[in-house]
């Protein structure tokens, strides 16, 4: 168990919306049921479409948001019930990388300041010591001293994302939460960053919580994956198992929807009907039943339970599995 860097159990998050004084409050279930764990040095990916709660999950784990229910253990320590002042340790060992390399770097700070910010917050290092560390880490992510004196917006997307990675790396974290780190990048740059992330993992033994909507990217980088739909993980397991043998109809549809970059492999797709329901009023029972091609009566009424499948660590929540 000591090998587990992150464990999340029955995580829930609801937001309250109110339009004014006299309106009734509405609740949005952004995350309704998420449980998974990540081993040291491994990558776990959360994959799903917009509004499925994958980013919210990432923010909950990094404690940018307060979980409504459930627990989060990081390196054996429960952090979900701690106050911000008690999170100093966790703030150092868990770092984040964000989707938009344009918005996640303060345009008014020089690169060296950006990268050194965690050091400024958490350590008492002198300027020169910080500078030294910054230069080291720049080297690691493939930038040079020369870049450190410049502002982030002078760089291209790929370089910026490197800066973001350098910032996450400087505290030598155990876990990096990467929220769509490559989806804003062009393909040729995307592959550079993916390679860098993999190299860093190998070098430093970092674990990643990788959040993405892109199944191809996820397949490339992950060890384990969790597929989310409307706030819940509907299927999870080792990457190979899930990709080769998806059990949940949503996973199947998702996999089939991905356009394949090979004209010879054009195939009949499972086209889901309709749109993703709004989390403001999620469907009853299995939240997927409105779009599921195999929906049965029971799906409308009962929430399916999470089930262990044949292969190790492969879970799914679907009534079909009971048949």
């Amino acid at each position: 168990m000591s090998n587990t860097i992150l464990r999340v159990e029955k995580l829930k998050k609801s937001f309250e919306l109110s339009n004014g004084f006299f309106e009734k409050k509405k609740t949005i279930q952004a995350v309704s049921d998420v449980s998974f764990e990540i081993q040291k040095g491994e990558t776990f990916s959360l994959v799903g479409e917009s509004g499925c709660g994958k980013s919210t999950t990432g923010r909950l784990i990094s404690r940018l948001l307060e979980p409504t229910e459930g627990s989060i253990w990081i390196d054996g320590m429960e952090v979900s019930n701690k106050k911000e002042s008690q999170l100093k340790q966790m703030r150092q060992s868990v770092q984040m990388i964000f989707q938009d390399p344009y918005a996640s770097l303060n345009p008014r700070m020089k690169v060296k300041e950006i990268i050194a910010e965690p050091l400024t917050i958490h350590t008492n290092l002198s300027t020169s010591e910080r500078q030294k560390k910054v230069l080291e880490i720049l080297e690691v992510v493939g930038l040079s001293e020369y870049h450190s004196e410049r502002y982030a917006h002078e760089f291209s997307g790929g370089q910026r994302q490197r800066i973001g990675i350098a910032r996450a790396l400087i505290m030598k974290p155990q876990l990096i939460i990467a929220d769509e780190p490559v989806s804003a990048l062009d393909v040729s740059i995307q592959s550079q960053i993916l390679n860098l992330l993999k190299d860093l993992q190998r070098e430093y033994g970092i674990s990643y919580l990788f959040i993405s909507h892109d199944l191809s990217v996820v397949e490339h980088i992950s060890d384990n994956i969790g597929v989310m739909y409307l706030g819940a993980i509907v299927e999870s397991g080792p990457k190979d198992t899930v990709f080769a043998n998806p059990q949940h109809p949503y996973t199947k549809a998702l996999l089939s929807s991905v356009p394949v970059a090979n004209p010879r492999l054009r195939k009949e797709k499972i086209i889901l009907k309709g749109d993703i329901p709004s989390p403001k009023n999620p469907p009853s029972g299995c939240t997927f039943h409105t779009r599921c091609p195999f929906a049965m009566d029971i799906c409308k009424k009962e929430k399916p339970k999470r089930q262990q499948l044949q292969e190790e660590n492969h879970f799914a929540s679907c009534h079909l599995l009971d048949q």
Binding site: E49, S188, S191, N195, L215, P259, V260, A261, P263
Partner: protein, 326 residues
């Protein structure tokens, strides 16, 4: 055998800022046949969207202008048409859909009104006829309750529905050419699959040509007959979709295809193209791809290669082949 519907020749487009002209398109050449889906791929900033805007001549409110080249569409040269003639074409013979269906519809105008606008202008139908036509179009693009949707506002629809409305609007006057600029980029995968399916179906039914602009090679592979690859304001390669994916010629195309992670493909490391896309105001000399090219030769940094036919229906703009064919 097949008739060319649109032919773009040496298209050059420039923007002016602070009295300085920046050329974004450096002579773009390609054509679209009737009933064909042509993919225009490239990374951000390569000028693919600007190519489409140049074809539609949608430069109002910007400083963009076409400074050279010809665009032949149904035998008329769009570059020479008056604004009035151009307006007659737009929405009628050439229609366009855009990347973001959220912002492409007017938020304060009912769907019906927005849909009937081109119908009334181009087909000269009266109000109720236009409305009926609009409802028919909505049905055609697979929108449930079309007669209610026409009286709703865009924000009441989901992203997928909005893109369907955009498609209905584009298709309403039965255009010969549909320019789809990243039509599914803003959509989720499952919705993207729906929209692509719809476009395929409509293309077959209406026998129109589509110019599909995208950065997603997967979408290209799924949709297109032929592909044009652009880099830094120029076409670097043109080939049938099969040829391109199986045997890309230009080093850029090669790199691009290799760097995409593909489902089911197990690779520890992805191939990638080093460096970054050059800044349009600061283009490298010679072949614009040379600084990033693994196979660059001295000449590549000096002189720009011409676009040459290297096989049947294949064009490539690279010194590797130019030297070969010589």
């Amino acid at each position: 055998m097949t008739k060319k519907l649109l032919q773009v020749e040496e298209l050059q487009t420039e923007f002016t800022r602070d009295k300085q002209k920046t050329r974004i398109l450096h002579g773009v050449n390609f054509h679209i046949n009737e009933g064909e889906v042509l993919g225009l791929v490239g990374e951000s900033g390569c000028g693919k969207s600007l190519t489409s805007l140049s074809i539609m001549r949608l430069f109002q409110g910007t400083t963009g202008e076409i400074t050279n080249g010809n665009i032949y569409f149904n035998d008329s040269n769009l570059v020479n048409l008056s604004d009035y003639e151009m307006r007659k074409l737009r929405g009628k013979q050439m229609a366009m859909i855009f990347q973001d269906p959220m912002t492409s519809l007017n938020p304060v105008m009912k769907i019906g009104k927005q849909l009937t606008e081109p119908i009334r202008v181009h087909l000269k139908l009266n109000k109720s006829e236009a409305r009926e036509h609009a409802i028919a179009m909505l049905t055609k693009v697979g929108i449930a309750r079309p007669d209610e949707i026409v009286d709703e506002y865009p924000h009441q629809l989901s992203g997928g529905m909005r893109q369907r409305v955009m498609i209905a609007m584009a298709m309403s006057c039965n255009p010969n050419l549909l320019i789809a600029d990243e039509p599914t980029t803003a959509l989720d995968v499952t919705i993207q699959a729906q929209i692509l399916e719809l476009m395929k179906k409509l293309q077959k039914e209406e026998k129109m040509s589509i110019l599909l602009i995208t950065h997603d090679l997967g979408v290209v592979a799924e949709m297109c007959d032929r592909v044009v690859v652009m880099y830094a304001g120029k076409v670097v390669e043109e080939a049938s979709v099969y040829d391109l994916f199986e045997n890309p010629k230009h080093p850029y195309s090669k790199g691009l295809i290799a760097s995409v992670p593909k489902l089911g493909e197990k690779k520890d490391k992805l191939d990638s193209i080093k460096g970054n896309v050059p800044n349009p105001s600061n283009m490298p000399k010679g072949c614009k791809f040379a600084p990033r090219c693994n196979m660059a030769m001295p000449i590549c940094h000096e002189q720009e290669p011409a676009c040459l036919a290297i096989e049947n229906d294949r064009l490539c703009s690279c010194w590797l082949y130019e030297l070969e064919t010589r």
